[in-house]
């Protein structure tokens, strides 16, 4: 909780700024609409957190989301009875992609940056080949209800988000979380003290794949089938995690802060949109955040050595 404090403060400021520009935001319906929109990114950020805290990256989540939505539309093709089997299949595909990412990273010793970048290209290429650039088929109403509908006034996506968030926090408090953290902090030390490092990392990748599957179900439900649905989501998820103060390279940061980072990013986008600033700027904002957050993290670590450098700068 203590680690999540700075980002929560930023989040509160942004939410207040949105409320000033758009008072409707303070009403339950307005706020729930925001949560609903943020849910897929927050879930992806939770998944990405597990991978990043273990010292790796997952760049494949965006194209995995796209692939899942396109596959769902093609297989369901408007047929209600296919809804549940396809949802089960999507989750299996998510876990499977995570498993492949994890196994290649740990057993074949290929850097995860390369593995998941390759997976991104493989998935987006496969989707393009399969669809020829435009998706076919349609999602059923039963599938779309998770992204569109709700239990009374509360959207399903918000309930799913709560469940995923609780599960993520519980996982990090359990033994798994401690081993994962140790793995990311110092892989060799963790291995020597009996942690099955590879297994922890593979599991983290599978969680990220699972998160992508859930996010795909929510996003596909929200707006229907589209071949651009996952575009850039991997960067948004990584930005969110970094914004939450989780250190790239692993070993530090809380999952709550990572999810708060995703909320903050979504709030920032909402605010930019409210003030009529072009959506094209979203990438720029994300880029600045990633660089700034990592730079800030690098300055803090060798704190004892920095005053001298700082003095030199001030003098020159």
């Amino acid at each position: 909780m203590k680690r999540a404090l700075p980002i929560l403060a930023v989040l509160v400021v942004l939410l207040a700024a949105i409320a000033v520009a758009n008072p409707f935001f303070l009403e339950p319906a307005g706020f729930l609409a925001f949560l609903k929109r943020a849910a897929p990114l927050v879930i992806l950020a939770a998944g990405q957190y597990f991978v990043i805290v273990s010292g790796e990256f997952d760049l494949s989540v965006g194209s995995l989301v796209t692939a899942e939505v396109v596959i769902a539309a093609r297989l369901i093709d408007g047929d209600e009875s296919a809804t549940w089997p396809v949802i089960a299949l999507l989750i299996v595909i998510g876990l499977l992609v995570g498993l492949v990412n994890g196994v290649v990273t740990t057993k074949l010793r290929v850097p995860s940056f390369i593995v998941t970048l390759g997976m991104l290209l493989i998935l987006s290429g496969a989707v393009f080949l399969w669809t020829g650039g435009a998706p076919r088929g349609a999602l059923s109403e039963g599938f779309r209800v998770f992204g569109r509908g709700g239990l009374g006034p509360v959207p399903w996506s918000v309930l799913i988000l709560l469940a995923v968030g609780a599960a993520a926090i519980w996982l990090m408090r359990a033994d798994f979380g401690k081993t994962l953290m140790a793995t990311g902090d110092n892989e060799r030390a963790a291995a020597l003290s009996g942690v099955r490092v590879d297994r922890a990392k593979i599991f983290a990748f599978m969680l990220s794949g699972l998160a992508a599957a859930v996010a795909a179900i929510l996003l596909g439900g929200f707006a229907g089938v589209s071949a651009q649905v996952g575009q850039g989501l991997e960067f948004s998820a990584i930005t969110a995690v970094v914004l939450g103060g989780v250190v790239l390279g692993g070993g530090r940061g809380s999952v709550l802060a990572a999810m708060a980072g995703a909320f903050t990013l979504e709030a920032l986008f909402t605010l930019l949109n409210l003030y009529g600033i072009s959506g094209a700027l979203e990438f720029t904002v994300q880029g600045v955040i990633i660089i700034a957050a990592v730079a800030a993290g690098a300055i803090r670590l060798p704190w004892k050595f920095t005053p001298r450098k700082g003095d030199a700068h001030a003098a020159s």
Binding site: N22, G132, G133, P135, R148, A223, V225, Q228, Y275, G276
Partner: protein, 402 residues
């Protein structure tokens, strides 16, 4: 003293000039929601006119809408509006023919439907011995090398659907010297091709939609305009025509937003506007692919769907019928993909063709919706494919028989 006075005059003129050039910029980029609201109360809220806007083309296209095209009325892809015929005797040769096609891309449903239609059209003609097509995958540089490659393949005629206008012009000009060239869909900045085939165009599309909204939305009503992205001529013309129509009307354009053609983004933007304004009385779109997402934003907010325009895409037409919407669908017909093949054969047989082949560009209205809606076709199919009589329909286009 006079010199001083002159200086003052010059200075104040400069200041005034500065003021007048500043004004449009502030109107297009509202600093805050409050500011944009007050500004749009004064003006129509449509911002400055696009630099792509050409008044003469606009007038010509709007006039073409009411002209009767020449040619068989049951085959609009063979029709032409006010054609100026050009002689092709010098290209006459005996068959069989080898036709070549440099395609900009097949990266959206519109181009996919068109591409399938073109291939089916090729299949109709026995005199086409060989059809070589290269897909530039949306890249100018690839298309430039594709065009060069095709020239070396002994094509009897070269069909080009340019990826962008300016960049492809030199490549097209070079090809013109060696082989009869047929350009369609997007244009090039040279008149060297034997014929340029296109529907009436973007101005007519944008105006058709905007005129419908102006008619259906009550005076003072709030209209939201959704565009895919700025800077593309075929889309800029659609919006600039709509702007002209809206500026003359009593409706108020509360926002002009870019959706990137993304359904989720479209839905979020529309939801935001519904929240901010309480009510939106009309939605104008420069393309129909995300129209259903925009409609869903109203449905999910529990509001009636206001007058809206889409395109002739199946999912929109279906929604239109099911929800009994107040809607219109201007089109950019995919049947134009049949015409280049027909034109190429005419040219090689020495028959004259229109220099500017303007195809009719019908719009779907509630009166003729039933004729265009085909429930067995997939959601992203374009109704004006002109492909119903082609072999392989409907399966090749992803439809079901029956």
């Amino acid at each position: 003293m006079p010199r001083h006075k002159a200086a003052v005059a010059v200075f104040s003129a400069l200041v005034l000039a500065g003021c007048t050039t500043d004004k449009p910029t502030t109107a297009t980029q509202p600093a805050a929601p409050a500011a944009s609201a007050s500004q749009s109360a004064q003006s129509a809220g449509t911002g400055t006119q696009s630099k792509f806007f050409v008044q003469a083309d606009f007038d010509a296209q709007l006039a073409m809408r009411s002209q009767t095209p020449e040619g068989p009325s049951d085959k609009p892809w063979e029709q032409a509006i006010a054609p100026q015929m050009t002689d092709t005797a010098k290209y006459k040769k005996d068959g069989p023919y080898h036709l070549c096609f440099s395609n900009a891309a097949v990266n959206n449903p519109w181009r996919q439907v068109g591409w399938k239609t073109m291939q089916a059209e090729v299949g109709l003609h026995k005199e086409i011995e060989k059809f070589t097509a290269l897909d530039a995958e949306g890249k100018d540089d690839k298309q430039i090398s594709d065009i060069a490659e095709l020239q070396a393949k002994g094509c009897d005629a070269l069909i080009i659907s340019p990826n962008t206008t300016a960049t492809l012009t030199p490549a097209v000009t070079a090809a013109c010297g060696k082989v009869p060239v047929i350009v369609f869909d997007r244009g090039v900045e040279t008149d060297c091709p034997v014929t340029f085939i296109k529907p009436i165009g973007g101005y007519a599309f944008g105006a058709d939609a905007a005129e419908f909204l102006v008619e259906k939305v009550p005076a003072g009503g709030k209209v939201l305009a959704l565009r895919i992205l700025p800077g593309v001529d075929v889309l800029e013309t659609r919006w600039s025509a709509a702007k002209v129509v809206f500026d003359k009307s009593k409706v108020q354009v509360v926002g002009v937003e870019f959706t990137d053609g993304d359904a989720a983004k479209t839905k979020s933007i529309v939801s935001d506007y519904i929240q901010r304004h309480g009510k939106i009385d009309g939605v104008w779109m420069d393309a129909g692919a995300t129209a259903v997402a925009a409609i869903e934003a109203f449905e999910d907010a529990g509001l009636p769907v206001p007058p809206i325009n889409g395109e002739d895409q199946q999912d929109f037409l279906q929604k239109w019928k099911d929800a009994n919407l107040t809607a219109v669908a201007p089109t950019y017909p995919t049947y134009q993909w049949r015409t280049p093949i027909i034109a190429a054969l005419k040219i090689l047989k020495g028959e004259e063709v229109p220099k500017m082949w303007n195809l009719p560009q019908p719009k779907v209205t509630s009166e003729n919706l039933a004729t265009y809606l085909k429930p067995n076709m997939p959601p992203l199919h374009y109704a004006l494919c002109g492909c119903e009589d082609l072999p392989g329909f409907p399966e090749t286009w992803g439809g079901k028989k029956g």
